[in-house]
């Protein structure tokens, strides 16, 4: 505790505070712009940070990481365009809230839930790092497989109204991820012998296509068929209170806490990320909610759950990186590299040899979270005003941003084509009742299922019992079976009643 306080006193200098504010603002804008991810921002900043002392450089990277995840939520809420892949799950309920004229409220809730996620992650990072890292190390390929299957089973909850269409979407999403070089054997699959497909289909252009481009098409259709559409839209949209009421916080508090814990835990597992955490948190929120029908139609719990989950990852991802030298996700992998270049060896010795640096980082994480909350709430009003601009001017702007966003991920024009293709497909699929959420869930979790299934079978010489003989894996598979059986029973009962 005294070391943490010393870290705080070391942090409170004008220089570090100034750097934190600038980094948070920069990260927020990067997250807000489609196609620019937290990983990209941190990677760009790493060479710049080497010119600074280790604690200042590390702080910049951590602040950008935190704020970029949060900034991505704004474009998801306002334009159905996920700024980062972690914000994709926020589109399901954030954008419907905007359509109802509650954009300000949705942004406010997203900021509060992000802060909650960050604080829970931070608390675990400061107090329970070694214990969590130990548990995370118990996870091998069978456990990862079971968790990914558990994540995919959320489709049954997400699409309880049309399960068949939900599963079709999820299977299509999984199949798309199998295009490219096979991760185990290294042979090309379904590439039609083209170089373009050998790298696989990146999921950010698909996300941009499914959510943003298809929304542009829907808006254009509305403008073509109804010349007064723009006028009507502006009449129905109001700037509502941005700060959530106590009643709303009370309704969502337990859900935010659960989602933050899910995010922190998933963040602590190496090889996972904020996108997976956001989807699992959203699925669990719907699973435990008494008002499942409101999800997808602007539920406030549907906004807070993925955001708290995605931000819980920030703290969680630092745990294995600092305690064991194993990065929790792509961003912490870059930060790990930076630490090594600074001459610091992550692991238990880091806490002994560079205690002040670690505690200053903890203090910086805490203060950057508060600055992010203040910046987020402060800018919410500006963002809502942008959203109130006439759709006829916004639509071309969003369309161009979609093109740039999908291009800038890998500097690939093919990705722009992918975004447009999935935009047209997403337009028809959504019109016909095929949700985008199971498709994205399949795309994100599909590779994790496949790689860990095959690794597990290699470990057991082809014996599938490995999934049932390991307690954690058996537990998660048991939960999957029970939840699928319950969803199936509910559907049968629903069919009989109707």
């Amino acid at each position: 505790m005294s070391q943490l306080l010393a870290g705080f006193s070391n942090f409170f200098t004008f220089q570090l505070l100034f750097l934190s504010v600038v980094s948070v603002l920069g990260g927020y804008i990067v997250g807000f712009l489609p196609g620019l991810t937290a990983t990209m921002a941190v990677a760009i900043l790493v060479p710049l940070s080497f010119s600074l002392p280790a604690e200042q450089g590390l702080l910049i990277l951590a602040a950008v990481f935190i704020s970029a995840v949060q900034g991505g939520s704004v474009s998801a809420i306002l334009w159905n365009t996920p700024g980062t892949s972690a914000s994709a799950a926020l589109c399901f309920d954030g954008y419907p809230m905007t359509k109802q004229g509650k954009a300000g409220k949705a942004i406010g809730l997203a900021q509060i839930s992000s802060f909650m996620g960050l604080m829970v992650g931070w608390l675990f990072l400061v107090t329970l790092s070694p214990a969590i890292a130990k548990v995370a190390l118990q996870f091998g390929a069978p456990e990862y497989f079971s968790i990914a299957v558990f994540g995919i089973s959320i489709v049954a909850v997400l699409c309880s109204d049309s399960p068949m269409k939900g599963w079709i979407s999820a299977f299509l999403g999984i199949l798309i991820t199998t295009i490219g070089i096979d991760p185990i054997d290294g042979v090309p699959r379904f590439t039609f012998d083209t170089v373009l497909l050998s790298g696989g289909i990146s999921y950010v252009p698909v996300l941009i296509g499914l959510f943003a481009v298809s929304e542009v098409f829907r808006n254009v259709k509305a403008m073509i068929t109804d010349p007064d559409f723009d006028k009507k839209q502006r009449e129905t949209q109001r700037i509502t209170d941005i700060i959530p009421t106590m009643k709303e916080i009370k309704i969502t508090f337990l859900n935010m806490l659960r989602s933050s814990l899910i995010g922190t835990f998933i963040g602590a597992l190496p090889g996972t990320g904020a996108d997976i955490a956001a989807f699992v948190a959203y699925g669990e929120a719907k699973r435990w909610s008494k008002d499942k029908e409101s999800f997808g139609k602007g539920s406030i719990i549907g906004v807070t759950a993925p955001q708290a989950g995605a931000n819980g990852v920030c703290g969680g991802a630092f745990i294995p990186m600092l305690t064991l030298g194993i990065p929790g996700d792509a961003v912490t992998a870059i930060i790990l590299g930076a630490l090594i270049i600074w001459g610091l060896q992550p692991g238990p010795s880091l806490f002994l040899e560079s205690s002040m640096l670690v505690n200053t980082l903890f203090a910086g994480f805490f203060v950057a979270s508060i600055i992010t909350l203040v910046v987020g709430l402060g800018l919410a009003n500006v963002f809502v005003k942008i959203e109130r601009l006439p759709k006829k001017y916004l639509v071309p702007c969003i369309f161009l941003l979609c093109c740039v966003g999908s291009y800038s991920i890998q500097n690939s024009i093919f990705d722009v084509f992918v975004a447009m293709f999935f935009g047209i497909a997403g337009y028809y699929m959504t019109n016909l009742g095929y949700h985008g959420s199971p498709f994205v869930l399949g795309m994100i979790l599909g590779p994790m299922v496949e790689q860990n299934l095959r690794r597990s079978l290699i470990m057991s010489n082809g014996d599938p019992m490995i999934f049932l003989t390991r307690p954690i894996s058996a537990f998660f598979l048991g939960v999957v079976v029970v939840s699928l059986a319950m969803a199936f029973k509910k559907n049968i009962t629903g069919c009989k009643n109707s």
Binding site: V30, L33, L36, I44, M164, K165, W167, I168, F171, L172, L175, T178, D182, I184, D185, G186, V187, R189, F190, V213, F217, V220, K221, M223, I224, T225, K392, Y393, V395, P396, C397, F399, L400, L401, C403, V404, Y407, S408, N411, I413, F414, V416, F417, M420, F421, G423, I424, Y428, M429, N431, L432, G433, Y434, V449, E450, L453, R454, L457, I458, G462
Partner: protein, 152 residues
Amino acid sequence: MRKEILRDQEIIIAFCFLVVAILFLSGGRNPLLQRGITDACGACFFPNLFAFSLIPLSIATIYFRIKAAPEEKAGGATPRKLVYFFLLAALASLILYLGGFIVMGLVVTFLLCRIISLSVKESVTLSVTLSIGIYLLFNVLLRVQLPKGIFF
């Protein structure tokens, strides 16, 4: 009746899914994928599993759709102007490749503005402002290299 079935968007899309599943299954017949190098499954096991699962689901969707009452038929006609926009979106990547970002931005934004019935003056102003504004933001400020086109 047969014409109605063939025009039903839900049947068409389910049929497309069926074709996708068959394409994946035929791609999985590649001998290189069937022989597992490191594991018993081989690289085609996982995609085949989901492609196989997709077939009965697509067939069931088509079956239930045909059985559904005519008034339940979903998916309205696509307006002609929207079809033009689809074509424009599909061509955007080609224009981006040939002319670079600025040219693509000018052409696509201008045509999109015309599709949504903005005046010529508004369309020109918006396309120039957006293309140059976004170019400056990404290329100059954020240092994202945007394509310059093969002719420039």
